[in-house]
Symmetry: C2
Subunit: 342 residues, 2 copies
């Protein structure tokens, strides 16, 4: 089977020759060839230049032969057309110039025309479609995670300002999340139209929420995205971290594949959401910094817990770390490849 | 019933008139009377001065009439006698001067004589025992959380250095955790001897671990603490955050009461660990910054999910935040008091 068959079959819980593998942030700072590109170009320069975005997206495929490629881009790309300018402070994550503070700020957000605002992304996808022999995963942020950046102004530990808006100004909150859900839906539809064979919706920070808050304040907005995606005919992956207590709710919101980070055993997590849906995960990214025997033991543990059930995509529980040794990625990929399903 | 009966009965899953309530960090920066004391004294000065520690421990009991008091102290108190000096950077959490880096560093840790090294704590407990009409909860850190501070040198996001030692130097790791487990066991035994009516073991950051790592690298050490506690005849609370995927393992390690943070519904969490053990939690500390109606709705949700089962202690999922309005704490306490079990 080609990688294409393998990955898409797993998304759809169809039988394949072996477990497909790709890694979140597989194009990134752990790769010397990526660091070479970054010497000359800023992160957003790469994202906005289709040729560079294509090159960087292809780098890990050439080196490791992953079963899927993921578009090199950033969750916050929709912020600029929405009217929320941001930049990247060296090694510190995004910084939003004027975080959203009021109902007025949310009302003033601009309408986004995907074909116009994301032209560079869509062009990169069209170019990649021609180059790639494996499926390309498009992606965008889920409403909660995008809102948390827009309100906090950058990464956060406790999401205090985000929850303050959620609790104190529920109407402003719902207006913001519905606007973000609309942009994400439109953006992903345009990515699929341009050639993305699957999409991943990143709700990276949603694990900060109590399930009761998720159900009333977030789920309806995330669901609207997955409902619009279900009409596009490509599989959708629903990803988050710290979500061991939220998995049933995330499943209820939607997705053909649910992401499991490393903080729950894969088999227990899969049991919670139901084995009639596919799962992706769930190695601790720090296991890739461990000695060979420890790494292989943890990889085998994930594969053993997935067992013979249909629909497991091997991945890390979150993005690969910049300090990861290349040889450990080879070891990981080799081990998953050798693992034949009976 | 007095608070004493109520709290201890809940720990033992015996019937009581209503759900007991206390809050983690109930003596702390949200209280104006505490901030007054802090104007004149540093955090560690208060901890090491029994009269001041007693005063600060009593402040929230006087104001709110909580059903239990918790000794004002700090998780890192055992570090100084162990030979790991640290200080508090203003508003930033602890900073360890020379984080542990090698097997030699761990071998050089000193033996701790609790009666000598923790004399100030034990004296504060003896004084409190006379003053208090509610039970006093003693506490100490669990081995993983203490190790993470000792290795990272302070608070951490990904626990990269901690996991590096765990994966790369398992013998050093187990030596460190067994030493920390011994200190915690001895420290808690001395606190009970001095008059603590219950103890809480804080494994605040253990939720960063994959369950497979917890089982082999942490559980045996935490278990040794709960085994030694079980001989002391007082209830033990086992607390962590981000542990929705680790609850069964934490229960296996021990504790009469398992802490549930807000990231899992209380009823689901209780189901996972088994209703033959008591639970403590599980309101999001940020709900105390919400408007009255939202706060009460979330409080009622926790109480409803606890239902008529025996053994629920109301608490936050983590420490109360400095920004918390006093009137909301009154509202919370009043609501829990009004909730009669049928």
């Amino acid at each position: 089977l080609t990688g294409s068959d393998r990955f898409l079959k797993a998304c759809r819980r169809e039988a394949a020759d072996r477990t497909p593998i790709w890694l979140m942030r597989q194009a990134g700072r752990y790769l010397p060839e990526y660091r070479e590109v970054r010497k000359k170009h800023g992160l957003l320069d790469i994202v906005k230049n289709p040729e560079l975005a294509v090159e960087v997206t292809l780098q890990p495929i050439r080196r490791f032969g992953f079963d899927a490629a993921i578009l090199f881009s950033d969750l916050l790309i929709p912020f600029e057309p929405l009217g929320i300018p941001f930049s990247f402070a060296r090694g510190e994550g995004p910084r939003i110039e004027s975080p959203l503070r009021s109902r007025g700020d949310v009302e003033r957000l601009r309408r986004v025309e995907p074909l116009e605002s994301f032209a560079f992304t869509l062009e990169a996808i069209r170019l990649l479609r021609r180059e790639l022999e494996v499926p390309l995963i498009g992606f965008a942020g889920a409403p909660f995670t995008l809102a948390s950046y827009a309100i906090e102004g950058g990464p956060s530990k406790s999401f205090e300002k985000t929850k303050a808006v959620m609790y104190q100004e529920p109407e402003t909150w719902h207006l913001l999340l519905s606007k973000l859900a609309k942009v994400t839906s439109d953006y992903l539809a345009a990515q699929v139209e341009a050639g993305a064979a699957a999409v991943q919706v990143f709700d990276s920070w949603v694990g900060a929420l109590a399930p009761s808050d998720y159900r009333t304040m977030v789920l309806p907005h995330s669901r609207s995205i997955f409902e619009s995606l279900s009409k596009l005919g490509v599989p959708a992956i629903h990803f988050g971290t710290g979500t061991a207590g939220l998995l049933r709710e995330m499943r209820a919101a939607g997705g053909d594949v649910i992401g499991l980070d490393w903080r729950i055993d894969l088999d227990r997590g899969w049991e919670l959401i139901g084995t009639d849906v596919a799962v992706q995960g769930n190695l601790d990214p720090l296991a890739l910094l461990a000695p060979r025997e420890v790494l292989l033991d943890r990889v085998d543990d994930v594969l053993r817990r997935a067992g013979e059930k249909l629909g497991h995509i091997f991945n890390l529980g979150h993005g690969i770390l910049p300090e990861t040794p290349i040889e450990n990625v080879h070891l990981l990929v080799e081990r998953v490849r050798q693992h034949r399903r009976s």
